[in-house]
Symmetry: C2
Subunit: 242 residues, 2 copies
DNA sequence: TTTATTATTGGCTAATCGCCACTATTGTCA
DNA sequence: TGACAATAGTGGCGATTAGCCAATAATAAA
């Protein structure tokens, strides 16, 4: 994108109503792939910020969306091809400078999704890509999306310390080692093996569903688990990690 | 308000833009007075829901408000006369049925404020009143404000269990007994005295600033405290209560 | 059989909570 | 002036849960 074409676009943009802000929804979609935490970004095909990478998002369809959560879900599915096991609101950011067009408000959501079911769909569309989160820090994203991503990332870290959030990024069933790895990647901290297992097992949030090959293919087979019914909302009384 | 005048109002309402939702900010303002948890409500003077009690709130002033947090603060001050020591975002609710006029979105904030500095101002305006929270449950509020209040109340309970939120509803300095009472009212649970004191004192979130008369005027004088610098954001590693 | 590799458990210490009885300080009142 | 009522504050034990780290278990490959 060139500076001048954006200027031209801005000049031609003429909001009819000046007393109502633009409202949109943006989603930070997280997954785990190849032992790394990744985020889905889409390349903007339109001004403003044409050509920049951005969080998936868009406007409410007043005719079709019953509520904003549905808007977020619709956008999520349109970019990944599938629904996500976790989609929740993070925060709403609104001010007069985040969008060059106008006073603008966005409600930020975060989603967790296993990698596999999304891979084929996303490779087919070339405007969307999974980025390792560290790589995004070097990128200049559209609007204030770098800050939005930081907000979602923080929420993810914090919530992982007292919930079982990471069960939503794994394909099922999973071993405790895999689950621990997921916790560690989402929290960005190493966790102590025994403490981790004790915590999860004592909480009755998992049900054993057999045994499988170990992580990495070598060594003792691991017990495999799935989330127990209703465990998604489990709250630990103590935070984990330090 | 009469059914027919609301009907007439709705018939005459004609939004110019159909593809953008209404956006507003609402605030659940909590205080403690006479040993009770109270919430500020305002009586609506305009349609829709004319004559109903509602949470304070309103629209963004695109000319004056740099961001939505400022919008919330402006509304808060206009109803209470003073700023609040705690104002934070709770959640954003948006759907096609919460406002009879149009698809509508609101960002809900909650505020905590000591009672005394607000009393005079609020008694002077007769469209605003502090309601004990239990009384509000019997009331039919405007729009979906009963649900919004429930959301804010839940957030208040939850956060009180792992933060020092209640320091913001007390005038300073305060005794530990007063602070415990505040915690109990905000959490809606009885707390154990020794555990409470140990928790607060060990956390280094308070500084002693003298001694004063006991709670109720009788008995041994109590040590008085103020929040220590930076203690507002203290997070306990364990939740309290039970 | 040995070894490498991953999974799982044992067991001690420390922090923090629930519980509850006990002590401390003040004013009141006979 | 000496009990007593009322509120503030402490002592101390058992339970839960985290950190630590070493030991044991199961499997495949050498």
């Amino acid at each position: 994108m060139t500076q001048s074409s954006e200027q031209a676009f801005l000049k031609s943009y003429n909001p009819k109503e000046y007393d109502t802000p633009i409202y949109s929804v943006d989603i930070a979609i997280f997954t785990l792939d190849q032992g790394r935490l990744k985020v889905l970004l889409v390349e903007r095909s339109k001004h403003p910020f044409k050509g920049f990478w951005a969080l998936p998002g868009g406007f409410v369809d007043l005719k079709k969306d019953p509520d904003i959560h549905t808007t977020a879900r619709r956008k999520l599915i349109s970019k990944t091809g599938v629904d996500a096991p976790l989609l929740e609101q993070v925060s709403t950011i609104g001010n007069g400078h985040r969008d060059p067009r106008h006073w603008s408000i966005t409600t930020l959501y975060m989603a967790l999704i296993p990698y596999a079911p999304t891979a084929e769909f996303i490779e087919a569309v070339n405007e969307a890509r999974w980025f390792p989160i560290e790589e995004i820090e070097q990128l200049q994203l559209a609007f204030d999306h770098s800050e939005l991503l930081k907000l979602a990332r923080e929420r993810l870290k914090n919530k992982t310390a007292y919930t079982v959030l990471p069960i939503h990024v794994l394909k099922r069933p999973f071993s405790l080692t895999q689950l621990q790895k997921a916790f560690e990647l989402l929290m960005d901290t190493a966790l102590e093996k025994k403490s981790f297992r004790r915590r999860l097992l004592n909480a009755n949030v998992l049900k054993e569903v057999g045994e499988g090959i170990p992580d990495g293919g070598k060594g003792r087979p691991a017990a495999l688990y799935e989330p127990a019914d209703g465990s998604e909302n489990h709250l630990f009384v103590r935070v984990f990690g330090d």
